[in-house]
């Protein structure tokens, strides 16, 4: 076998074997499993980097491992596509995963489900790798659901907690709703193109009627909405914070939730041939970015704030892919993976230090007690707010600049407002947690996390600083664009550039938005120039709306869940038991009633039997006559 093909399949093999190993023999490894699991993922990472360079210096390839499902004309193999897009994703996925694995060793120390944890974490990495490299829609769908399953099982990792197992179930079911759309999209695609192979699908797309392409694209996008927690299916992600923090970091920030963006980038041909669908992607992305940031403004649970910020940032990515700036979307995906992973890890470190405390109102003054955590957190916060030279600045500005230059002004304005809000809420968090006066329990012992946790944080923080420089020089001359755009050459240019605003002007506005957000937070929470309570009371309705997450959960519960349950109960108790069974039993009792009557004939009197017999004979004879 070719070396590069061997490497390709070795990358998912490592985590897969890890899963089997811990799943079956976990109890014999105990503490060791964390190290070996991390070792496996590190090995995958190294192989990914090697593959990255192979692809960067030669060209992409595809390979089929074995035929998987062949039925009639439906032929699908287990096959991989290795091109620049997938190697970039591979390096990101395995890299972040490796760091988070290492971090988890410290974080999960002493948990009784230690091996189980690493088993599923490895399974997740395997699924994510396969999702990224799969070469047909069926395989993609399989691992699309598989990562959803890992997310389910890891969110509900502490299954004794009802809230945790509820959250896991909710995540899985909400994802299934999106996946249902995704599956129907695949059905439609197969019905029109008779194939599910990427290459063949993409060649067929330009000749398909646009309305079908639009339908397909929208259905596929439904899957992305579910997986990437976009409005209206975003409700599962905040609840998913019930899982262990490294899981939130890996799955719900860095990798799985970005699968939707990756999917649209991967299917850029389909989406770019349907401007309508792309428009929908843009609208949903913009709206979600704004909505999530709005909700994040008033939350007090640090993990939830970061979760909403993830939703919001994903909205940016969808804005990017919605206007056809696929490289910008992927670039933000990568940089977001780094800084959001970092934010979650540091949040986890805070939790670790405060033995599980998540409420902002019970923190404060942590800077002096956990310096490494605080510094790395601030780095992540700055990156998120888009302050140069941190990575978020380059990637987010690339998106906003494209949005502006392609003429979507309204989306751009919303994007800038969101940027302001983003900076505000993340620094509100930072100020309240690390700098404001301490509201901790005096008896509580606060400690810095062990080295095995801080080192991954530091590595991620340094990446959050340097990775942005891939984005210079700005726009279409950047290193990243040059590397990646070759993969998007087949996209139909449905949204050409209409403006040519200079990058420094646009960046200036963005940085201004970010800085003013930080400044407002500073005024409110450090200087206390204005009492936050006063603002709260002035904007009471808005505050309540934001604090209660716009009541979306309640609306769903009231409009969908409750009526459905009542309806189901009705089906069972009335339709099934009463109507259908009732009809059947009715027939039965009709027979029974008839036989009660009929039994009277059989009164046991021989006389009447004989009488009846004779009447019968007489009647029979009579019948023969009249015949």
């Amino acid at each position: 076998m070719d070396l590069k093909i061997l490497i390709t399949w070795l990358i998912p093999l490592f985590p897969l074997s890890g899963w089997l190993l811990w799943g079956l023999l976990g109890k014999y490894f105990k503490g060791l499993s964390g190290y070996i699991a991390s070792g496996f993922v590190v090995a995958s990472f190294i192989l990914s980097v090697i593959l990255f360079f192979i692809v960067a210096y030669s060209h992409g390839f595809t390979n089929t491992l074995y035929p998987w499902v062949y039925a009639g004309i439906f032929k699908v193999g287990v096959s991989a596509v290795i091109d620049r897009l997938s190697v970039v994703m591979l390096v990101m996925v395995t890299g972040v995963s490796a760091l988070i694995h290492v971090y988890s060793i410290g974080y999960m120390q002493g948990d009784k489900g230690f091996s189980r944890y690493f088993s599923f974490l490895n399974l997740f990495v395997f699924s994510m790798i396969m999702l990224v490299i799969s070469n047909n829609l069926l395989l993609l769908y399989v691992f699309w659901e598989a990562v959803g399953f890992c997310s389910y099982i890891l969110i509900g990792f502490w299954y004794e907690k009802k809230s945790a197992s509820d959250a896991g179930k909710k995540a899985f079911i909400v994802n299934r709703v999106g996946d249902f759309g995704f599956a129907v999209g695949i059905f439609l695609l197969f019905a029109t193109t008779k194939t599910l192979n990427y290459e063949a699908v993409f060649t067929a797309i330009p000749s398909i009627p646009p309305y079908i392409v639009t339908t397909i694209a929208l259905l596929l996008f439904a899957g992305a909405v579910g997986k990437s927690a976009q409005f209206p299916l975003h409700i599962w992600l905040p609840d998913a914070m019930e899982g262990p923090t490294p899981v939130s970091s890996l799955i719900h920030a860095a990798t799985m939730v970005t699968a939707g963006v990756y999917m649209i980038a991967r299917f850029h041909v389909i989406f770019s041939y349907s401007p309508v669908a792309s428009e929908v992607v843009l609208i949903i992305g913009t709206f979600t970015a704004f909505l999530a940031a709005f909700i994040a403004l008033t939350q007090f649970d640090i993990k939830r704030i970061i979760a909403y910020s993830t939703i919001s940032q994903l909205g940016y990515m969808f804005m990017a892919v919605g206007i056809g700036s696929y490289t910008a979307g992927i670039f933000h995906l990568i940089s977001h993976a780094v800084f959001k992973g970092l934010l979650f890890l540091t949040a986890g470190s805070v939790m670790h230090g405060l033995s599980g405390e998540l409420d902002l109102r019970k923190m404060g003054g942590l800077y002096s007690k956990m310096k490494t955590t605080a510094v790395t957190f601030i780095v992540g916060g700055l990156a998120l707010s888009g302050i140069p030279p941190f990575s978020g600045f380059f990637s987010k500005d690339a998106i906003l600049a494209d949005v502006y230059n392609k003429g979507f002004y309204f989306a751009w304005i919303i994007g800038e407002i969101t940027a302001l809000m983003t900076a505000f809420y993340i620094f509100r968090l930072i100020f309240l947690a690390f700098f404001a006066e301490s509201k901790l329990d005096p008896g509580k012992h606060v400690h810095e996390s062990p080295k095995i946790m801080t080192i991954p944080m530091i590595i991620l923080a340094s990446f959050a600083v340097i990775i942005g420089f891939l984005g210079i020089p700005p726009f279409n001359e950047s290193l990243f664009y040059n590397f990646l755009h070759i993969d998007f050459k087949n996209a139909y240019d449905f949204a050409p550039f209409v403006n040519n605003a200079p990058w420094y002007l646009l960046s200036f506005i963005s940085v201004l938005a970010g800085l003013s957000g930080i400044y407002i937070a500073y005024l409110l929470y450090i200087k206390k120039a204005v009492d936050p309570e006063r603002i709260k009371s002035i904007f009471k309705p808005i505050y309540v709306l934001s604090y209660n997450k716009v009541y979306i959960d309640e609306i769903y519960n009231f409009l969908i869940v409750k009526p459905l349950l009542v309806f189901f109960d009705f089906l069972w108790k009335i339709i099934d038991v009463k109507v259908i069974d009732g009809a059947v039993n009715g027939i039965a009792s009709a027979f029974a009633g008839f036989s009660v009557k009929a039994r009277k004939i059989q009164n046991g009197m021989l006389m009447s039997y004989i009488l009846t017999l004779s009447i019968g004979v007489a009647a029979l004879l009579f019948y023969y006559f009249i015949r």
Partner: protein
């Protein structure tokens, strides 16, 4: 060895009966010997049936392992056996599930062990006979015989309203199959009128010419017989009762094998015998199937009894299979056949787990459980795999079947397929919710404190099913390779009829104009 292979089907059919004679001399009180011996015998039977798989020739739709002897020559009835890619796997499923359910009932069946194992083996004979028979009369005999052991298994070892359930089961299926018998005999007589030969040979009966109107009536007759067995909505109400009250082994066999006969009957008899009626009625039957998918799922959500929940989920799964079968595309029928296996495997496994929970806690109410995961990690893991297989999680078997069915049906029935596909959402809802309430959260019932994990016997019971779940999920080709030619032939046969049918319709349409 040659002899063995040549008469393998007969050997498979009659081995369990012969093995009953081995069991008869054993004293009633020697329950251990009875259990072990019967389990070993059913394992041998299963190993024999694996030879079918090994010696089965791929890439042909022709019947294999054919045996044909005269039986009642004056009626043209013969002892005619043979299998194709579809019945091959159903027979394998039967032998496997019989072994599994015998092994599973060591703890559940405490009384009348001897009668129980004898009835199980007898049932196995009838089931294999039904799948292997290519003679209508032989088929019908086995088909009806099957009810007898099942009736006793539910009625004697069941729980709760067991006699009610057993009688309901028998009455439902019997009334359906009597109407079916009428249809079959009518076709038999029509064939005699046309050719002057009495024959029950199904392959010859395929060539009977029947007018369109008559086909409809006969198809409905056959449909009633098979639909009750599947069970299709609205004929399903016997199923929850029978499943709930039956002992674990009975439920496994009922769900795993008996429900398959309805679909098999459609595949082997109703559709090929009456193709035009099948085309005309297909949309309606698919609608019933899709209603079944959603209805089963909806009703499962609100169930409070574990077994009843799994039973209603069967209704839902069987709806998918009907959708795939009547969509009549190669892909969807492949999916349906695979799904037949899957349903047997995963629902069988679910029933086994419900049985294990019941053995330990003596309750089946979901609210009485909770926090089991803490006490029994092995059970949790395996149970979870089975639940996920039933949910249709990719990578496990259920997904392959459902996906093939849906993608194959989409072309002809897009709207219905989409509606059916929404069933997979609800599958996740009711199964995961159930799993959460039973296994996760905190222990509420003090009885759960002493919950034992699975012992070796139970693990061995479940393991083959779990292995199959992964095998079909990751590498279904050994199965599809054997099913595909049969299905291809079936569909091309149907398409031929369909072409003729459309031509006729066009002509009559023109003449009307």
């Amino acid at each position: 060895m040659d002899f063995f292979i040549k008469y393998l089907l007969s050997i498979l059919i009659f081995f369990p009966v012969v093995s009953i004679f081995l069991l008869l001399p054993v004293n009633k009180k020697n329950e251990g010997i009875l259990r072990n011996l019967s389990t070993v015998l059913s394992l041998i039977e299963f190993i024999f049936s694996l030879y079918l798989f090994v010696y089965f020739k791929e890439n042909t739709y022709k019947f294999q392992f054919v045996e044909k002897f005269n039986w009642i020559p004056s009626f043209g009835a013969s002892y005619f056996l043979g299998i194709d890619g579809v019945s091959l796997f159903l027979i394998l499923l039967t032998t496997l599930l019989t072994f599994v359910s015998l092994l599973s009932s060591y703890r559940y069946i405490k009384e009348h062990v001897k009668e129980f194992v004898i009835l199980m083996l007898l049932l196995e004979t009838f089931m294999i006979g039904t799948f292997a028979a290519l003679d209508v009369l032989l088929f019908y005999l086995f088909w009806e015989f099957m009810l007898i052991p099942m009736y006793f298994i539910i009625g004697m070892w069941g729980t709760g309203r067991r006699v009610y359930s057993a009688v309901k089961f028998v009455l439902y299926t019997l009334s359906g199959s009597l109407i079916m018998l009428f249809g079959l005999i009518y076709i038999f007589i029509m064939h005699y009128d046309q050719t002057g030969n009495f024959t029950f040979n199904i392959l010859r009966l395929y060539n009977t010419h029947i007018s369109d109107d008559l086909q409809l009536i006969l198809f409905i007759a056959l449909f009633l017989g098979f639909a009750v067995k599947i069970p299709l909505f609205p004929f399903h109400t016997w199923l929850p009762d029978a499943h709930t009250e039956a002992p674990t082994a009975g439920s496994v066999i009922l769900a795993g094998v008996l429900l398959k006969f309805g679909v098999y009957g459609f595949f082997r008899f109703a559709i090929p015998l009456l193709p035009k009626a099948a085309f005309i009625l297909a949309p309606f039957i698919i609608i019933l199937g899709v209603i079944g998918v959603l209805y089963g799922a909806f009703v499962s959500v609100v169930q409070k009894d574990l077994k009843r929940l799994v039973a209603f989920s069967s209704v839902s799964h069987m709806g998918f299979i009907i959708l795939g079968l009547f969509a009549m595309s190669v892909i969807s029928i492949n999916g349906s056949v695979i799904q037949l296996l899957n349903h047997g495997i995963s629902t069988g496994a679910l029933f086994l787990f419900v049985g294990m929970l019941y053995e330990r806690m003596h309750t089946r109410q979901i609210k009485d459980f909770g926090g089991i995961a803490k006490k029994a990690p092995i059970l949790t893991t395996l149970f979870m795999i089975s639940v996920l297989a039933s949910v249709g999680l990719p990578g496990l078997n259920g997904f392959i079947g459902e996906f093939l069915i849906l993608i194959g049906s989409f072309h002809s029935y897009p709207v219905l397929t989409i509606i059916a596909a929404s069933g997979i959402i609800f599958a996740a809802v009711y199964l995961l919710w159930m799993f959460q309430r039973v296994m996760f959260q905190d222990i509420t019932n003090p009885a759960a404190e002493n919950f034992e994990d699975m012992n070796l016997r139970e693990i061995i019971t479940i393991l083959p099913l779990v292995i199959l779940m992964f095998l079909i999920g990751f590498y279904p080709m050994p199965f599809l390779d054997r099913i595909d030619p049969t299905v291809l032939h079936f569909v091309s046969m149907m398409n031929h009829h369909k072409a003729v049918y459309t031509v006729i319709k066009l002509k009559t349409g023109l003449s009307n104009a």
